[in-house]
Symmetry: C2
Subunit: 458 residues, 2 copies
């Protein structure tokens, strides 16, 4: 589209008529809904993001349609916010200053599997990716609890990992995401393929420094995963079991999730099995490891109380993965709207002791929910998504301060600015990427604080 | 065979005539050869085991033939020493008091692969096991450098692991070996299936506490492994690279072997690429990780100097795995007969610093060769098979003492008694197993010292 076709005063509302071949959503209520994600888990974000909405939503189905929308926005200087299916928790797809929401969920083709690598368009759902990869004997390395609807592009843009991070670490670990195809936000959008570390500069920036069109990811050989639960009377033994299993090199798992009492009683599959004093470790295990894990559970005084084969999981259409990570929070919120949560990163090798100390200090008010994983560097660790009986913002901040005083890192889920979720440790190269891929700063302006305050070098 | 058929004075030499359906080897030179393994790597073991030989070798091909030989030995109280293909290094198959060598290399059928588990008879070669498992999309979790000829039973009886231990730890890690079928040494031999931890009580006891007939092991999905080498001018950077790669969760490897200068110049595939000041890290990598590892090599100032795909490895019939672990020692010995070696277990998380300190203290005399791996508990670590310019037994002991003074554990490869290779930390349950499976103490008498000195409870 040449710039002469656009009136200087073109707004987002004018675009649907100008680009009629693209699918547009203009109904105010639907646009408002498509401006949101699961930020409502946080009472603070719910308040802070209230009323923030796009003007229209574009749902392109081809690279050419994306190009048309992007070009038009660049020419008319209309803000552009990229969206997948809205399963994020920090307002990733909420436009801070209106404009066009670029919903990529319709740009969702599976490209290929070659050897142990797969490639797909950004809008593909993770469940669909896995379904396409499985006939090749491959599966995704990580499944967030939202895998059923979450998109690959959205996971890359604002996700961490999920089930599977216990083996492969977060997406951010080198070797997981091999390359991305990126479009620039310019009147004449350019297409660039980034590989390795360069590609990762667009990761977890909430779509603020480039439009990721396709992703190439390393895969993992398919395993017919069993889903199991161990029950413990003792908090410490459950915790130590989970930590031991996480490290055990001969016992193959995809997920180890620790739910302190009474959280198991909030989770539908566990409700009939648990009383409110019992702790659960939910596990996704390779079938050949179930026997060995059962022995390990016993040696920690636990009871192996739930054991479903991959076939049973498939036919029941119920997977424990949808009770882990932030789905634990979701299910707890269904039981008690007054819950909120924090995200905490413990210190490898000290994590078990840190958890015990914090349980002693805050038990009852803060309900321990831990996801065991490997860090980007490969250390064994756990990450907390603790449930909190919410009283006030002041008390929530106090709790986070107590965590920090124990040497635990808080990844605050009650903020929506990219830098605030990263303790203000933003790699300056992220901003340089934005100079390259979004030189006019149109991608959700305000979301990447460093953009406005940068020293402009060009 | 009923005991009345045997004269009380029956010796091993009488058995071939009594059991003519079994294959026997009686030629003195061949029996002497089949009484040995690779203990000659150690000048001390070479001296200590000199002249120790069996009387005859039985090579049974069925459980029934094994039963006949075992029964006859039990009735006549003839010592019985189990042998695979003799690739061990500590006189595992050398009878200390003559008798029958039970060579199980002919008892080698592959049983089955089900889901991700495989089962075979003890005498199967590891290479043959992998060839049988591959059409099922599976492979063994570990390949010692001797995989071409070593047997599964021999690996279980006296091996550690090998390539693959960087993922799955040693065989000893729970979940690796799932079960074993064992025969008792009695006039009427019994057959028992042991599972899990019970099975592991027969592991690494050099065949002294039961005759393992079949093994059931957890497998790993097949990967078309690439073989690569990185070259470094700096010892420290090579070491740090190897340690970083070992932990990196997104970069998939089966083997990481560090060879300090000038060891690479002793290894045929590396000779043309290395001068005697350059250090090598040999790697077996998943193809989708090669790109990421190449980036990592560069970031440590190294050069990616060798890169073969799985197809190239297969068609060349040369694998780097046969230059790792104790094959490194073998190739160095071919260049200089005066080399010997030690085996050292570093301390997880401190291993890199320990290696640097010992290199500073002993560099030149002790050539650093490290195999990166995970411990039984899953910690990242490395194990040393350092090459030593041998001068005297006293100096060798001094070097081992220096290692110990740095907090490094020495697994002395210059001893042949089970307990001496385990710092005398033998689980008493191992001896109880021998009471159950070899109540008359006929399995290579003298090899398990605790047997003679035990308190007999029955």
């Amino acid at each position: 589209m040449s710039s002469t076709l656009l009136e200087p005063s073109t707004t987002a509302h004018d675009l649907p008529a100008m680009l009629p071949s693209v699918e547009w959503i203009t109904d105010t209520a639907r646009v408002a809904r498509l401006s949101q994600d699961f930020a409502w888990f946080s009472p603070i974000l719910k308040r802070d993001l209230a009323g923030k909405t796009g003007d229209v939503v574009a749902r392109p189905r081809s690279e050419e349609e994306i190009r048309q929308v992007v070009s038009a926005c660049a020419i008319a200087k209309i803000p552009l916010t990229i969206r997948g299916t809205g399963t994020g928790n920090y307002g990733q797809s909420t436009p801070l200053f209106g404009g066009v929401i670029l919903d990529l969920s319709g740009y969702n083709a599976f490209c290929w599997v070659r050897s142990q690598v797969g490639r797909a368009q950004a809008g593909i759902r993770l469940s669909e990716f896995d379904a396409q990869a499985r006939p090749h004997g491959m599966e995704l390395r990580w499944l967030p609890s939202t895998f059923r609807s979450a998109t690959l592009g959205g996971l890359f843009g604002g996700g961490f990992g999920g089930a599977g991070s216990i083996n492969y670490g977060p997406l951010a670990a080198p070797g997981n995401v091999l390359g991305v195809r990126v479009m620039t936000v310019e009147p004449e959008p350019q297409i660039v393929e980034l590989r390795g570390a360069d590609a990762m500069l667009l990761h977890h920036t909430y779509g603020t420094n480039g439009i990721v069109l396709e992703l190439e990811v390393a895969l993992s050989p398919c395993v017919p995963w069993s889903e199991c639960v161990a029950q413990f009377e003792s908090f410490d033994q459950a915790l130590e079991f989970a930590s031991k299993l996480t490290k055990a090199p001969g016992l193959i798992k995809k997920e180890v999730s620790f739910l302190a009492a009474p959280i198991p009683t909030y989770m539908a599959p566990l409700m009939p099995l648990f009383n409110d004093k019992q702790h659960a470790v939910m596990m996704v295990l390779a079938p050949q490891s179930v026997e060995g894990v059962e022995d390990l559970v016993k040696s920690f005084g636990g009871v192996f109380c739930y054991n479903k084969t991959a076939e049973e999981v498939l036919s029941s259409n119920r997977t424990l993965i949808e009770y882990t990570w932030n789905h634990t929070t979701l299910h707890a919120l269904k039981v008690d709207k007054n819950f909120t949560y924090i995200q905490s990163g413990f210190t490898p090798a000290k994590h078990v002791e840190q958890v015990k100390a914090l349980e002693k200090e805050l038990g009852g008010e803060v309900l321990m929910h831990l996801e065991f994983l490997r860090t980007k560097e490969g250390d064994f660790n756990c990450s907390g998504l603790q449930l909190i009986h919410y009283t006030s913002e002041a008390r929530l901040n106090e709790i986070m301060a107590i965590y920090r005083s124990h040497g635990v890192q808080i990844n605050n889920p009650h903020v929506y600015i990219v830098e605030d979720g990263k303790q203000n440790n933003l790699d300056p190269a992220v901003v340089k990427m934005k100079e390259r891929f979004d030189p006019m700063g149109l991608l959700n302006p305000g979301k990447l604080r460093s953009w406005a305050s940068r020293e402009v070098r060009h």
